[in-house]
Amino acid sequence: MPRTYSGIRESRPHTYNDLGGESVRIAEDFQGERLCGADRTFSQGLQCQQINSIAAVLSLEESAFIIHSPQGCSGCVSMGADGYRVGQAHRGVKLIKSPRVIVTNLDQNDIIMGGEAKLREAVGLAVKRYSPKIIFILTSCASGIIGDDVDAIAADLQPGLDAILTPIHCDGFKSKICASGFDAAFIAIRKYLLPDEPGPREDGLVNLFAPTSISYKDQLEIERMLGLLGARVNYIPFYSSLEKIRAIPSAQASTSICKVFADEFMKELDESYGIPFAHTVMPIGVRNTDKWFLGIAELLGKGELAREYVESEHARVLPQLEGIRKRLSGKRVFICGGTGRSFAAAALIDDFGMELVGLETPTYDFDAQIDIEYLNGIHTNYVVDVANMQPFEQVNLVNSLKPDLFIGVPSWSARLGVPTTHVLDPKRATMGYDGILYLGNKIADQLENPGFNRKLAPYARLPYKKTWYESDPFKFIKNT
């Protein structure tokens, strides 16, 4: 991270989190620098950056994790831990482990007196119990506001320890954009775990950065595709290890399979170690898979080979898409997702001739503008809601737009009776060319068989007043 980068995504120029309107106008306003800073005067809960930080590192081998916080901030560890257990099962591990998570459990006294003693105790327990190679220490709103100097405590404890103490500064109140937590984790990895001087370059070694939501099946497919280019994959950070992290600076190139995962870190690797990177898109759908694969292939000097492969895959897969197209063409879709996946899904539906009527994505910035301009070239004016979830806006929009299908977390739109599906599937393959067929059939099957949602809707208990559905969905977004 260009060393001046704080890890707070809001600090990057032209980043907007509270925005809504028609896609064409938003793209024009962004282009013309007419977008203003804004905030929602009413909002629903966000995902804090600590949730992303812990998710990023939780599956690392021989590591322990200290959450320096009151007990509640370990709540989302359960989701990461569940994913970790499932991931082990998929990878054939027999003795499935829980991640080693120790919470300092700050209480009233610690808030007044400081939490240093408990942090020291937690480090001692982690060392005694597990002799880990890395001990991550994750900060919290509470530890940040009371001013615990975690870096200094870690520096003081480090001599004499085999484990590398690695503080991650992810205080929740510092950022509205949960992806900041990924950056915080990579900043810590850079600072504490990577050498300043790169070792010898390993030809063909590629750093592949992938967020936690990527299934093992997807990992295998992506590794297989990169293998076609003669590359060996250093898959980071999931089910990875200190050794693999230390191999990062030796790589010939880097790429990511999510737009907001490791993008800043790859810039840092370029600046520190001269490792070029391909920052493209999530390889879901024909266009994105092409773009992603060709992006990394060009870097490796294998563009020719990659184009041949892409052509042969098109010849194999595109004819099979015809049947799916017949089922889905012209269907109107509303999409909600994280940054990478929302745009990937929007590109995917074009493979099936579907029409985008609404897109909900957490952040609008230069990267988003590229995607929106591309989508504006395909679809007529659709609604863009720049929101991290905010289900109240979503149900308002879905209720008035009446799409044929909703793609995303279905908890709320399903209760409106709209058919729902998701392109996020941590247990099956969604990426690459075969993933397109899987997702296409999944989308068509779920769209054609909406019985569950239709029958549920009359009994559903969504919490909103009737008048809300008739209001401007963006009325709470006010310029600041």
Binding site: S74, G75, I96, D110, G172, K176
Partner: protein, 428 residues
């Protein structure tokens, strides 16, 4: 007071309060907290209690002021007012509760005054001070009821001799809370009673408001709600009966039914008829699987209420051999530990198991290693690891449950024990 803990079983006060509010129909919690607290508390409680999400507002649908650096530095009261105004405008609720996260708690935002402004205008907006550093989610459960007593419960104009309140079963924390409350309601109705659970059958804030007209509070827990039970009695004249376990199976459930009958002075022949018919229903099934579920030497790792209930059921009613029971609730009163130990060790025929009070996942695993010959481990999803390692059958029923789905399933009451026996069957 709280201690450094590996894999703690539960979240913070905020999480516990939210468990209660999100289970009462048409109640809107509003978090005055940093971003993330809504997700953390829902994922860490409901998300680990059999995977049901509170239907009305939960996780990222919970209204939240999402306090950032600006609020931390300059105070967040004006942002909170905006948030409350928005919630009143769009959320169709009967009551709105402002909960504070660590952020608001440390900087000292005055939510009592802010909510007073709204109540002054006749709007049902109430404060509950809940910074996470104040304690764990079980304390939050108590805090929520204290707040309901402060703001909602009204003195009874008239007592209703046939109305009871069931308390002590923590929604979205006890993984089987819904099924248990439904089964207990079914049983008590057979005695001619009406039942407030506050959390099932769309019961709402009105049931809480009129709860002081009940003839009895039935506290189903060996230690929770001490202060709340006494306050109900002293301030609102509702006596209480503490039943120190989840009533798993015939012996415990019949004991509960008889105690309730005695406390309310119900017709003894009615009580005995209900007990007989319910027990007969269960034993007629048991009769058909004699020998079907093989004998086990068992260990239990669970919260106090489930630990007592399951240990007593398996030992007293199913003639399994108890080896060790580990109670995982962090608890600090000696009287509670003594009551729980006494309940686990005073068995009818079986030799008493060892009893330990441990909350730390590592300590629990190490303790279990000290025992040879355990063939069944009843615990939480966290116990899968040690069970795999030691090659023991593991049955997951206690918090946290992240690998099973619970809807209306319960092991409590008469019928619940049949479900437990079904689930324990393992042909391997």
């Amino acid at each position: 007071m709280s201690i450094v803990t590996e894999n703690p079983r539960g979240t913070c006060v905020l999480g516990g309060v939210n468990n209660v509010l999100s289970a009462i129909s048409r109640v809107c919690p509003i978090y005055h907290s940093g971003p993330g607290c809504c997700m953390q508390t829902t994922a860490g409680e409901a998300g680990q209690a059999g995977l049901r999400a509170p239907f009305f507002l939960s996780s990222v649908s919970t209204p939240c002021s999402n306090m950032l650096e600006r609020e931390v530095v300059f105070g967040g009261e004006s942002k909170l007012r905006d948030e409350i105004d928005g919630a009143l405008e769009i959320i169709d609720a009967d009551a709105y509760f402002i909960l504070t996260g660590c952020t608001a708690g440390i900087i000292g935002d005055d939510i009592a005054s802010v909510t007073q402004e709204y109540r002054g205008r006749g709007l049902p907006v109430y404060p509950i001070t809940t910074p996470g550093f104040a304690g764990d989610s079980l304390l939050g459960y108590e805090t929520a009821f204290q707040a309901l007593l402060d703001h909602i419960v009204e003195p009874a104009v008239e007592k209703d001799g046939s109305l009871v309140n069931i308390l002590g079963i923590v929604p979205y924390h006890d993984p089987q809370w819904a099924g248990t409350l439904e089964e207990l309601s079914r049983i008590f109705r057979r005695l001619g009673l009406r039942v407030n659970t506050f959390f099932t059958e769309d019961q709402g804030i009105e049931h809480v408001r009129s709860s002081a007209s009940a003839a009895l509070n039935i506290i189903v827990s060996p230690w929770l709600l001490k202060g709340v039970a006494e306050r109900y009695r002293e301030q609102f004249g509702v006596p209480y009966l503490r039943f120190p376990a989840l009533p798993v199976g015939v012996s415990l459930t019949s004991a509960l039914v008889r105690q309730v009958g005695d406390a309310l002075g119900l017709d003894g022949s009615l009580v005995e008829r209900v007990v007989y018919e319910e027990e007969k229903y269960v034993y007629n099934y048991y009769e058909s699987i004699i020998g079907g579920l093989s004998w086990k030497r068992f260990a239990v790792v669970a919260d106090a209420s489930a630990a007592v209930g399951v240990t007593r059921f398996l030992a007293n009613d199913y003639s399994f051999t108890p080896v060790v029971t580990i109670v995982t609730d962090p608890m600090y009163r000696d009287e509670d530990r003594e009551r729980i130990t006494e309940q686990i060790t005073s068995l009818e025929y079986a030799k008493a198991p060892d009893v330990h009070f441990l909350s730390d996942h590592y300590d629990i695993r190490e303790k279990l290693r000290e025992y040879d010959g355990i063939t069944l481990l009843v615990g939480s999803s966290l116990e899968q690891e040690i069970a795999l390692e030691l090659g023991i059958q593991c049955h997951v029923m206690a918090f946290p449950v992240s690998d099973r789905l619970f809807l209306n399933r319960t092991y409590s009451g008469y019928r619940g024990s049949l479900t437990l026996v079904e689930d324990l069957f393992n042909n391997l």
